[in-house]
Amino acid sequence: MSPRPLPTPTWLGTLPFLAVLLGWWLLPMLVQYPPYMLPSIGAVLEFARESIVDGTLVRNVLASLARLAAGFVIGMALAVPLGLAIALNRHVADMARPVLSFLQAIAGIAWVPLTIIWFGIGNGSVVFVIANTIFFASLYNTVLGVQSIPTSLYRAVRSHGGRGVALLTNLILPGALVQLLLGVRTSMAYGWRALVASEMIAGSSGLGYMTMEAVQWQRTDTIILGMIVIGLLWVVLDRTVFTVIERRTVGRWGLLQR
């Protein structure tokens, strides 16, 4: 019962964007408000040009992406072994489940005040929060992945003499991988929010930092540019990386439910 995706958008889809831009352009002529509340399109474009030319925008984007990647790698590296242990051993699972459920419930942004004490403002805090978020999302997916391997496949591998490491590499890891890859998009959606949020509070560079820092100077042109870049970057990442991973692997193996 997974919902059928909507048909691919046509040129019609550009109309609402044009309408928003038109509204933004017309608004100052219709209503009076101080210019700092909402800068003109021209001002935002001009600021975008400046910050691309002097390299600050690119630096901030790269800093954010590097932290996301670091957090993702650390979180996955910790989650997969523990997830396998939980999925394969009932005693480990029984003992760990309440603790992990609880920690999962506070995963992410709530750790920022503590990480500021422990690691200070900057990379350490932000990467910790992303890794923490990705860890719990991937842990769940690893466990689910192993559990969803059909029993008949276990029996088949066993009856051919597959045990121990052979069982792990031939059945359990590939089986868990499917669910992990399916889960990457959701994990990253949480990780992305954690990135932007933790940069806003504990960052010293990056998109979140750039956007929040601008509040004290009431630089709404910076804020709006930051929002647009955050939105565009997520759309691009989602379209080019996560959806492609999903299609190449899960779709090809025929495990995507339709």
């Binding site: 919902p3 909507l6 964007f17 005693h91 992410g108 992305w192 929010r193 949020a197």
Partner: protein, 276 residues
Amino acid sequence: MSEALALPGVAPARLTRRGVGRFAKGSAGVLLLLAAWQLSVPLVGLSPYFYPAPSDVVAAFVDLMRKGILPVYFLDSMGRYFAGLAAGALLGVAGGVLIGLNRTVALTLSPLLRFLFAIVEVAWIPIFVVWFGYGWKTILLALVYVVFFPVLYNTLVGVRTAPQALVNALRSLGANRVQVLRYAILPAALPGIITGLRVGAGFAFRGLVFAEIVAAKTGIGYLIFEGTQTQQTARTIVGMVVMGLTWLAIDQCYLRPIERATIQRWGLTVDAEQRA
């Protein structure tokens, strides 16, 4: 993601021997963690500002309860959360049904909606702060925003899955628009609505904590932030514990029963209708 390691195919713990055993082992896990934490404090030897012990946290909890701070903060947070959730869900369902009824409208609007959802609620908070200041308006708007889009999008997709044969049959039997909506479209959209609500509820809970860290002077998120600012790290941990237990309670008592009562029942019904 919010499924909280509830393993598929495993019934919730009941008073069976297996259930009791699992409860005992689970409690042992929790106690083990707490004991390790308490014992590690003298070994680590850092000040309670960096690394408070469980006993410090309990003391901070008692203190916050006695002063009446925690109950007030908790109720403030819950008020914001459920107000945001309800408003976002209502707007999302209404918008999703209205947009979803017409194929052209759905096609036209969906790229913009997807882009707006990609600008995560977290990214809106700075501009909300400039527009509305630090306070409940900013927090509530962020929550409505983060619930609205998943509910809207999933409702939209759900409405589009309403079997056309069923709609045609109802029409030819003389059903009016409201009846078509009531008997064909809403039941088809319901699993999507619930999925959207679940996703939104999970994002909104973390969004609440973040918004309270940035823009509130009360609430659990504020408690978490304020604790470290005033060198009372134990208070921060009280806030984190309350946050975790609250989410587990919301998930167990509220979201999961709804899901069981709707998706599992209605989802199957709709599926059977589509196949027929």
